[in-house]
Symmetry: C2
Subunit: 354 residues, 2 copies
């Protein structure tokens, strides 16, 4: 493997000194970029972008080529590759979110759920290898997964962005069934992330997109516990380097103390949290990643710079901050506004690292 030329991101995740605050953007390879839209057209579908290593590499590299100030690459893929490999039949309808052909609602179906053979996800590991080769040490590569709770919401409800009533009914009426789903998914995810690491992922992130829909108690029981199992099961070093992990529960700002205790290196924050208060609450246990509202990128370069400065000021002096949006960049973002954000982070963050 070639030498890593920019390890600012990895150092920040481990709260080691850096010269500036590193930055990347959730969903940085995405529909706001015209070159991405072209690749998607060429591939024919979103799933083909994910399942073909050439396309996945192409779109992973696009934001890096456009924005020299990015400090990390992230594997282009989807969290739903895992339930797809578990046999649920992922598909997309144009203009709608992802859906599954089968759902897990009946006891008999749930009891049949098993950890799939990782060969079904070989296309993901192939993409990781090819991206690493293409990066050639330019930037570190992030691998990722959905959290077991988040993946289970799709598996039980059959789609995302629901009211979660079917899965919550299961959580309260038949917690044994839900725990079986979550446990099987957690075991799958451990193998999945470790195979990504073996293929070359230099950091890993667990996206808990729907943990914030749970009550404080239920969050610990049905989401955080399983993320802890995953963190415990992760390969800690590869190729002579620590592989840091980031846990991100959208809407989970009330539970940062509990999140900080599961052993991950960093926590992702959405924009509802004041990052300075978050830092006070979790102390020196973890690095923090976030947390500009992606909607701000729809405004003006002046407003963007002002809001970037507020986040940097709020985190304050010292290391352990990875700048990011509080959620994925929206497809309506003018690409030059993303550049304005990256510029502002680099310009204004150096003073906090002196």
């Amino acid at each position: 493997m070639s030498t890593l030329q920019n390890d600012t991101f990895l150092k920040a995740l481990m709260r080691q000194p850096t010269d500036y605050t590193p930055v990347w953007m959730m969903r940085q390879a995405g529909r706001y970029l015209p070159e991405y839209r072209q690749s998607r057209k060429n591939a024919g579908s979103f799933l083909q972008l994910c399942k073909n290593a050439d396309f996945a590499t192409e779109v992973t590299m696009q934001p890096l080529d456009r924005y020299p100030l990015l400090d990390a690459a992230i594997l282009f893929s989807d969290i739903l590759t895992v339930p797809d490999a578990m046999g649920l039949g992922l598909y997309f309808e144009e203009g709608e979110g992802p859906k599954f052909e089968r759902t897990l609602q009946l006891e008999a179906d749930i009891k049949k759920l098993a950890v799939p053979d990782m060969s079904k996800l070989q296309y993901v590991f192939d993409a990781v290898s090819q991206i690493r080769k293409t990066l050639n040490g330019r930037l570190p590569l992030i691998g990722f997964t959905g959290s077991p709770w988040t993946l289970a919401t799709y598996m039980v409800e059959g789609k995302g962005k629901t009211d979660f009533l079917t899965i919550k009914k299961m959580a309260y009426a038949r917690p044994d069934l839900l725990h079986h789903i979550l446990d099987t998914t957690a075991q799958t995810v451990i193998q999945y992330l470790n195979a990504q690491i073996a293929a070359g992922a230099q950091a890993v992130m667990i996206f808990d997109s729907w943990g914030g829909a749970l009550s404080h108690d239920a969050y610990k029981e049905f989401s955080l516990n399983y993320m802890q199992k995953i963190v415990n099961g992760l390969t800690k070093t590869n190729d002579g380097r620590v592989v840091p992990s980031v846990v991100f529960t959208k809407g989970g700002g009330l539970w940062l103390e509990a999140q900080a205790a599961i052993g991950a290196d960093a926590l992702g924050l959405d924009w509802t949290v004041d990052i300075g208060s978050a830092r006070q609450r979790v102390g020196a246990q973890v690095a923090l990643q976030g947390n500009l509202d992606p909607a701000i990128l729809l405004s003006t370069p002046e407003a963007i710079e002002k809001e970037v400065v507020k986040v940097l000021q709020s985190y304050g002096h010292g290391h352990g901050h990875v700048f990011n949006l509080g959620h994925g960049i929206t497809q309506l973002t003018p690409p030059e506004n993303a550049a304005a954000m990256l510029d502002a982070v680099r310009t204004h963050s150096r003073q906090y690292h002196q």
Copy 2:
């Protein structure tokens, strides 16, 4: 006015001693009740239920007749009566949420926005009077409104449950325009709630359904500030009684300290917050209302009782707690499960008031 026979709810809002924890349910007059579905059929539409005082009274009374353990009535209406009166043209399409014929996005349209004549909302005040007459002192009646931020999201986006990108773009690029909308709406809401109080509402609640979509800073600037203006402008006593106020930001659990400081008597909590921690954070400044996840009512009477006990235990001994769901009851709730919740609250709460 007839003597109030059960003032447990009003006392709890003012943190005065009560024998048990009073309870009501957000959206207690709603689609989970077969008698409500029949009334709606008779009325022809949801809006007709709101705009006809006989129908509004009929459905307001339905849960009270079914559940003798409820401690408050709430006016049957909709938060969108206000933007409708402000000229935006509210309508409902079957199977979809509320929509508006016109939206506020152009500067010229926004600058024309004005406080409407309250005569346009006379049907609401008529409903309040008629419900009070029908209640005949049996239970106190709650009036309500949406928060200016929440109402503005509908006025700018044209519908609810959006990604809020249009209004957030305005918030960051043209805050002056958004402040004009919010200020005009806040002035309208003050008149609206005071007219509800004059007509007989004995407590008022401000629903900030979408405040949780904002960043911590933006929440204070665009939502909380305007709720504070409203609280400052409210009639404090009527007919010899204090008229307590409740402020509820769904998804606002991170900001309870700021909410507690605006002068309302109570805060509503959704289920993501541990009510015991919330009590520690806001001390004796305000009463707390909440916060069972409404999804729990889809499970079993045994699970419901267990979860009710957890909420009561978490709040602990002493007064100042109004039991409620953390959001509106879902239409899928079996009516007998709501009864199980009410029974559990009455049975298990007395010990905390001794």
